[in-house]
Amino acid sequence: MMRVKFWGVRGSIPCPGGHTAKYGGNTSCIEIRFDDVGRQIIIDAGSGLRELGNFMMGHDLPKGPISTSIYLSHTHWDHIMGFPFFTPIYLPSTRIEVFGPVSHESDTLETIVGGQMTYRYFPVRQAELAATISYANLKEGRFDLGDGITLTTKYLNHPILCLGYRFEYQGKVFCTAYDTEPYQNLFCTDSDSTEYDEGMALEGEVVAREQNEALESFVAGADLLVYDAQYTQGEYIPGKVGWGHSSMEFAIAVARRRQVKRLALFHHEPVRTDGEFDELAAIYAQTGDGDGPEIFFAREGGEIIL
């Protein structure tokens, strides 16, 4: 059994306040518990990680030293900003492994994540952290995490290197694919334009299709899929193409095409209020009684058992 809990569901920046109390204002953080084998995995260290850390101090620490793994989808700030506020890092007994993708021209993961802890930004320096923290670069691949847990990773379409995660455990599949948008043919397709090059245009078409295919296969058959749905299609098309996020319509279409059982729409636009979510839910949410997937907007504090 996997227990998946949302500690942060927003994109871009935390947005606390009266209008976001119901769906939550913290940025990306998802916890998976594998109770049968006593393992915990955290995906992303957005501001939601602070609350999770506080919970772990009360719930896990009394049972023994904290040991956990954090898998970062990527290193944009909204996905790492919670790390300095994750209380367990200040305990000498804590052991944490941090995994994530880093592109070749960038610094190491340790510098990017730990670099938030320099006096310029923060009163505690990374070197002063008491916990044992290790960092490892992650790429596309399939990994045996032990205890019967398998992880497959897949590059997504975002302005920096970004990974989707697919965990398989006891025949169940939990999958994330956020901070991604549909691959597009980036080359000029207007044959009247001076820029036009037939070869580039055709190849762009083929590769975009192939990449979308590959991403869809990656999420196929998931029991729970957490997918980027920052925008409505109406918001996406006129101004947000190329920003690295998807529309709700696209997320839903993928889940339908690929027999996903439950779809959590995720990485919400910060300006979206609870009232707007309730209206959108009336349009997009599904119970899953019919033949399609169950569809819902991810909510901070929401828990799903697989």
Partner: protein, 291 residues
């Protein structure tokens, strides 16, 4: 002459700091530094420099990304990794280009080498089109043609005196440069090209065209059509003297055997002339070359 192990070692040590051609560096910096660069411009500017193209493909196929399938075209890399990533790859690579002064090209003329490379790239692509290769695969032909003579760069740089002699000998004998390279340097540009391709982990088809473009019949069956196309494009560039990479005297029997392999007649190549000239002009305008 030195032992071939030693020669290999000298060349391998040089490969990773191999400079871009200064012909294109300024334009690369301009295009990659602009926030408004289009995918078309980015692809074009990188693909106009054989060394830069090789370096970028090398990084994309490297352990940093460890992609499951080898990427042999820039267009594919741009869609998969995004404009930003490829721009940054090119920028970080083009910095090496600062070393690529024209003086590095002691025996070969860099501008003539560049024109030869691009002519072979464009011709290979046009031949692929004439042979009904799918549009989305023609870029690979272009890349293979553009890169085919990369092996000459380390030879020319690491063994400048010997290489100058090899070029002279080939000119004197009106014979094969490959043979005089073997004779006077001890390693030819096909062998050096293979070292580059393998060190940079370029796609096997590209490595084959670096290694076998003077003997396509020896290329593995999978890549033989591509290699033969590049070989023919190379002969075309040499016969019509578009640019120069030192191979000025193609052997007639070799030409006949490739035409046979490709089921073509020499007259089939004449219509390519207009396309090749146009592409070369476009590239020159794009790079704002003055001469």
């Amino acid at each position: 002459m030195e032992s071939s192990d030693h020669l290999t070692h000298v060349i391998q040590a040089y490969i990773d700091r191999m400079p871009s051609l200064s012909t294109t560096v300024n334009k690369v910096l301009e295009v990659c530094n602009s926030p408004k660069t289009s995918a078309n411009d980015l692809n074009r500017v990188i693909s106009l420099d054989p060394v830069l193209t090789g370096h970028v493909l090398k990084l994309i196929n490297s352990a940093y990304y460890s992609l499951p399938n080898q990427v042999s075209s820039l267009a594919r890399a741009i869609i998969m990794l995004g404009l930003n990533t490829v721009k940054n790859l090119a920028l970080s690579t083009a910095v090496i280009g600062a070393l690529g002064k024209k003086s590095c090209f002691t025996a070969l003329s860099m501008d003539a080498f560049w024109a030869h490379s691009i002519c072979v790239g464009v011709t290979a692509k046009a031949l692929a089109a004439a042979n009904n290769v799918a549009g989305s695969e023609r870029d690979e032909y272009f890349v293979a043609g553009m890169l085919h003579d990369l092996g000459k760069i380390p030879l020319n740089k690491c063994f400048a005196a010997e290489y100058a002699q090899a070029l002279q000998l080939a000119a004197l004998e009106q014979g094969s440069l490959l043979r005089s390279e073997q004779l006077l340097v001890g390693i030819d540009h096909g062998m050096a090209g293979r070292l580059i391709g393998e060190k940079w982990r370029l796609a096997p088809s590209i490595v084959d065209s670096l290694a076998f473009h003077h003997a396509p019949e020896q290329a593995p069956a999978d890549s033989r059509t591509l290699v033969a196309t590049v070989a023919l494009a190379n002969l075309y560039a040499n016969i019509y003297e578009i640019g120069s990479a030192g191979d000025t005297f193609p052997e007639a029997p070799f030409l006949m055997s490739i035409l046979e392999m490709m089921d073509l007649k020499w007259t089939d190549l004449a219509p390519l002339h207009a396309i090749v000239r146009m592409e070369l002009d476009k590239a020159q305008v794009f790079l704002k070359l003055t001469e």
